[in-house]
């Protein structure tokens, strides 16, 4: 049986969206969700980056008057919040939404409408948190929002309410996304994709999705308590009423440490995906790498107190958490050695994705080494709240995470757009960014060791901070310039790059088995998986859509959920085919519910009981409309 033109047309009819604005607003296609996440996260990266450059400009020399202390506080609060919550995690969601279903040979996510809902909530929560810039109530209590600084007494106005309500609202999106990724991976893998054939990037997403389910509740409860303290005068953090400000710190860091690994793991998983492709060799120690990621996810819940070494906790407590913080080096080391062994045993090719992956490795190494240093209580007592810590975690986040994400972007760009990037410009962008990030953050280690505290708008002359700060500020401009070159390269190539074809890198995983960009239905025929790198194992003959067929003709003899809006569900670790299920199609309900939740957030911000009740009523109606079956279905 061959796939005929009419089959492709009928598939397109079953999976395509309406044209125009209505199709845009009602679409639930995972690829559109992924693209929207990517573009929105990039916009937030730009905003957070501009804030960083403003702060670096203020710190270019001692006692510069570029920003007032109040503005500086607002900028470091919004910079941290933006990069943590509105850039890094959503950028990873972008890749996961777009590529996770493709990599496991599925035609959609398990809950397509919930998926688009996650995006709308992310967008509206982001706008909500930024609305403070319009009303003049920009959050300024730090992204860590320690009490009592952020309580009414010291933070009057609505500034921290934008933060507290915004992050609770945003948590819905992250949690819904995590559930969706997990169920998709459990149930929608192509037949034959056993657990040992799941691509390593998908494992990375599985690991962080579990972490999200266990970490984010803490970051719902804590801001809820903060908001209740501010709006209804509750006393959780008030020592004069039996409360304890340290409770906030425990709850915050129980989420705040794992979030760092939620950001790092997908980035390392991308490196583990890219290195085999560009060394023409299967990943060495696949099982070890997967186990290392899951172990990291697990251990990261036992580390939170290392952010509180100077908070006056008992010595036994800090010693324990210091030890666990050192243990987490082991799984990171395992991944490193797996990468090195793969490169060593393969034939490396230095295309742009590989360059960014190497950059990620190096920056991860440096940030990891300083991480071991600050994990030691005596050293941390010295370095805590200095620019040493700023340098340390920016090597991981502005360094390793950003480089991992850009490695992924360069790697998957041909799949996303059907085009290839410009080799020379891509190299220029990489080297400029690489020099910039090191020039920015390397000198700050010394500034910190010499005693320059963080979160202070300026410093005095004559303390030796001038040179490292000048270098760091110049570095930050170079860093920004590098990212602009990357952006320019990607935008130009998107329109003008040479055609990429379905599998320009000769990669082995399923997303490369379909055309670039993939059709609405992703796969004309459902793949059957017999290998961890299906495209390297089977015959690779083009089918009529220009895609590569998988494995043998026999495996592809049937295209089961072919002409309908259906996916195949598989069961258990073996990926046995189980049932065929019709998936929900386009719907306006996710957008509607997200809008109602925005109204609810505004009502809470205004502290209007009537408006809150109205919004709750609308919520019930709109969620009911979401689930209510349509006529004829």
């Amino acid at each position: 049986m061959t796939t005929t033109a009419t089959t492709t047309e009928r598939l397109a009819a079953a999976w395509g969206d309406q044209p125009g604005i209505l199709g845009f607003l009602s679409s639930v296609d995972h690829k559109r969700v992924g693209r929207r996440y990517l573009v929105t996260a990039a916009v937030f990266l730009f905003l957070g980056g501009v804030q960083a450059l403003l702060m670096r400009t203020q710190l270019i020399g001692p006692e510069a008057g570029v920003l007032s202390p109040e503005q500086y506080n607002e900028l470091f609060t919004m910079h941290g919040t933006t990069m943590m919550l509105l850039f890094m995690v959503p950028a990873e969601s972008a890749f996961a939404n777009y590529f996770l279903p493709l990599m496991i040979g599925a035609r959609d996510m398990a809950f397509p409408r919930l998926n688009m809902f996650s995006y709308w909530v992310f967008l509206f929560a982001g706008l909500f948190m930024y609305a403070g810039f319009v009303t003049g109530d920009v959050p300024d209590g730090g992204w860590f929002a320690y009490s009592p600084l952020v309580l009414d007494e010291f933070s009057p106005g609505r500034d921290m309410d934008f933060y507290a309500i915004g992050v609770i609202f945003l948590g819905l999106s992250t949690t819904a996304g995590a559930i969706n990724f997990l169920v998709t991976t459990f149930k929608l893998r192509a037949p034959g994709m056993t657990v040992s054939r799941i691509p390593v990037f998908v494992w990375g997403i599985v690991a962080i999705a579990f972490m999200i389910l266990f970490a984010f509740p803490s970051f719902t409860v804590a801001p809820l308590m903060l908001e209740l303290s501010r709006a209804l005068d509750m006393r959780f953090f008030d020592p004069s009423a039996g409360g304890d400000p340290l409770l906030w710190q425990h709850l915050f860091w129980f989420w705040g440490h794992p979030i760092v690994y939620i950001q790092l793991l997908p980035s390392t998983a991308i490196v583990s995906t890219i290195i085999p492709v560009f060394t023409r060799r299967r990943l060495v120690g696949y099982a070890w790498v997967v186990a290392a990621m899951l172990a990291t996810a697990f251990i990261s819940f036992g580390l939170w107190v290392h952010h509180m070494f100077v908070a006056g906790l008992p010595q036994l407590t800090t010693s324990f958490f210091s030890a666990v913080s050192l243990v987490v080096v082991v799984p990171s080391g395992i991944q490193f050695f797996a990468w090195l062994a793969t490169i060593w045993l393969g034939r490396p090719r230095w295309d742009s994705p590989m360059l960014w992956a190497m950059g990620e490795m190096l920056l991860f190494l440096i940030g990891g080494i300083t991480g071991v240093m600050v994990a030691l209580v005596p050293f941390d007592s010295l370095a805590h709240d200095t620019h040493f810590v700023v340098a340390h975690f920016h090597y991981l986040q502005a360094g390793a995470v950003v480089f991992g994400l850009l490695a992924g972007l360069y790697y998957w760009f041909p799949k996303l757009t059907g085009r290839r990037t410009h080799r020379g410009v891509a190299r220029l962008g990489f080297w400029t960014t690489f020099v910039g990030v090191n020039l920015t953050f390397m000198p700050l280690h010394w500034a910190g060791l010499w005693g320059m505290t963080r979160r202070i708008a300026t410093y005095e002359p004559g303390l030796g901070f001038e040179v490292p700060n000048l270098l760091a500020t110049i570095g930050s401009y170079v860093f920004g310039l590098g990212l602009l070159v990357v952006l320019g390269d990607l935008l130009w190539s998107w329109r003008n790059g040479p055609e990429a074809g379905p599998n320009p890198w000769g990669a082995g995983t399923l997303e490369w088995a379909t055309s670039s960009p993939p059709p609405d239905h992703d796969f004309a025929r459902l793949p059957i998986v017999r290998d961890r790198y299906p495209l390297w194992a089977g015959r690779t003959t083009p089918d009529d859509s220009g895609a590569l067929a998988l494995a043998t003709d026999d495996d592809l003899a049937l295209a089961p959920p072919d002409l309908h809006h259906e996916v195949a569900l598989t069961a258990g670790p073996e990926g046995d085919p189980q049932q065929v299920r019709t998936m929900p199609g386009p719907s306006f309900a996710p957008l509607l519910v997200a809008l109602v939740l925005t109204l609810l957030s505004i009502a809470m911000l205004l502290r209007s009981a009537n408006l809150v009740l109205t919004a709750c009523g609308l919520l019930v109606v709109s969620v009911g409309a979401w689930f209510w079956p349509r006529e004829g279905s």
Partner: protein
């Protein structure tokens, strides 16, 4: 493998789906993350307790164990009525499905109604949420659980309306079984909430 897939396709077009639904896994994971949510706020309760010399603090009576125990029994019994409702649906007994659904809704309404009454009318005389950390935690935890009961009731009302319009049957019970998993979860959480807020302070004060 190809033949197996063909068979599945054939069978699943003709017969009801085998295996757990996607919604089943979704609601299980929802219960996991919500369970962590309650664990976290109960951690806050015990953390604050451990730092307070007297719990409840001066001037607040120990929580009563009479009426609160009755309310708890009523709520927990809905796990049985929900189970009976599901069973009736699978057997095609619509009359019993209706009856058990109404029993569940009634019991839940009693539990939630008495909670709201306590929150709004009774306790302001005794203690307000803004009095101290104990009171803040007390009302936050109880209202958080109450909100979950309310959401569960809305879900059952949705099921009620759909049932009234002729939906569901022995082969079409995914929505009902998904709702009941969530409901069992809300009941289960109450066991921990009741033990932490009502039983333990009494136990430790007397023992």
């Amino acid at each position: 493998m190809g033949d197996a897939l063909a068979e599945v396709v054939q069978r699943s077009r003709l017969q009801p789906a085998r295996g757990r639904s996607l919604a089943f896994w979704g609601v299980i994971l929802l219960a996991v993350t919500e369970g962590v949510l309650f664990a976290v706020i109960l951690f806050a309760w015990f953390y604050t307790w451990a730092r307070t010399p007297q719990w409840p603090p001066e001037g607040i009576a120990l929580p009563e164990l009479g009426f609160s125990a009755v309310r708890s029994m009523v709520l927990l019994s809905t796990s049985a009525s929900v189970w009976a409702c599901e069973r009736a649906l699978r057997r095609g007994d619509r009359r019993r499905t209706w009856a058990w659904l109404l029993v569940t809704l009634g019991a839940a309404a009693f539990f939630l109604g008495t909670h709201v009454h306590e929150f709004v009318a009774v306790t302001p005389d005794e203690f307000l949420w803004s009095d101290n950390a104990y009171a803040s935690l007390w009302w936050t935890i109880l209202n958080l659980h109450g909100a979950h009961v309310a959401v569960g009731m809305v879900v059952w009302l949705y099921v009620l309306v759909r049932l009234g319009r002729g939906a569901y049957g022995p082969d079409d019970d995914v929505e009902v079984s998904t709702a009941s998993i969530y409901w069992h979860f809300v009941d289960g959480v109450w066991v921990f909430v009741y033990a932490s807020l009502y039983l333990l302070p009494n136990l430790l004060a007397r023992g």
